[in-house]
Subunit: 132 residues, 2 copies
Amino acid sequence: MTSKISSTKYSISDLSKEFDITTRSIRFYEDQGLVSPSRKGQTRIYNQRDKVRLKLILRGKRLGFSLAETGRLFELYDVDKTSAKQLNSIMELINNKKNDLKQQLEDINAVLIELNDLEVNCQETLKALENK
Amino acid sequence: MTSKISSTKYSISDLSKEFDITTRSIRFYEDQGLVSPSRKGQTRIYNQRDKVRLKLILRGKRLGFSLAETGRLFELYDVDKTSAKQLNSIMELINNKKNDLKQQLEDINAVLIELNDLEVNCQETLKALENK
DNA sequence: TAGGAAGTTTACGTTAACGTAAAGGTTGCT
DNA sequence: AGCAACCTTTACGTTAACGTAAACTTCCTA
């Protein structure tokens, strides 16, 4: 039973097209230790895990995370969780991030409200122009 | 009736302390046209409007806005809204920003859920360690 | 077999957002 | 008068996240 695990392999250009980023960027993320594709000869081969990570990297960027920050989030899943000390410091990190994000939620809601006001204002001005 | 408008004047170091940023940053924001303090001799004098703008600049940064983007948002409030063409292009800009922010809201909620999962996971592992 | 497409490494260039240092002006003590 | 605490301008330095170009290999195919 030769099972099919081969469908989850991607070339660098596959991923660059799928995520609409340059191959340069993908190689740079590797330099920074955020993805670690295997090799066939010289050529990089990406798997499902790498693909997910790319997605998370891009999500992080949309949130204004640096690559280093995203990397630290990745590590949270891999860190050795056998010691209570480790666990507590991880949980502290998690809580810091959560607080940052809650602040961001507030910020975003504030800006959305302002933009809505502005939009309404524009619509009214536009209507006034038409009815003249 | 000499009214008191003088309480809304700040020096550069006042603001740098209040917002916990360097004076260098504040001067840089001026270079970029985001604040425009008046002068008494050489010395910069900031008013309430400048202070509000600084607050908005920092909020923008927390959301990952570039200074240029924040500047464009400022302009939205000042632009002359006399032409329908202007108005429509402004509203397009507003909508683009709104879409970005909605995407960010989704992203943040996703990350918050993941962090919560991770936290619960940590708590359980910790409990298991204690009950051993 | 010649060329084109996709891959690689190496390395210098670029932009944003400041940091940092030098050199100097003004004000207020003491 | 002196100096400490501010302020100023000018200008070069720095980091992150790539862009861009050169020079080369490997594979496919017309």
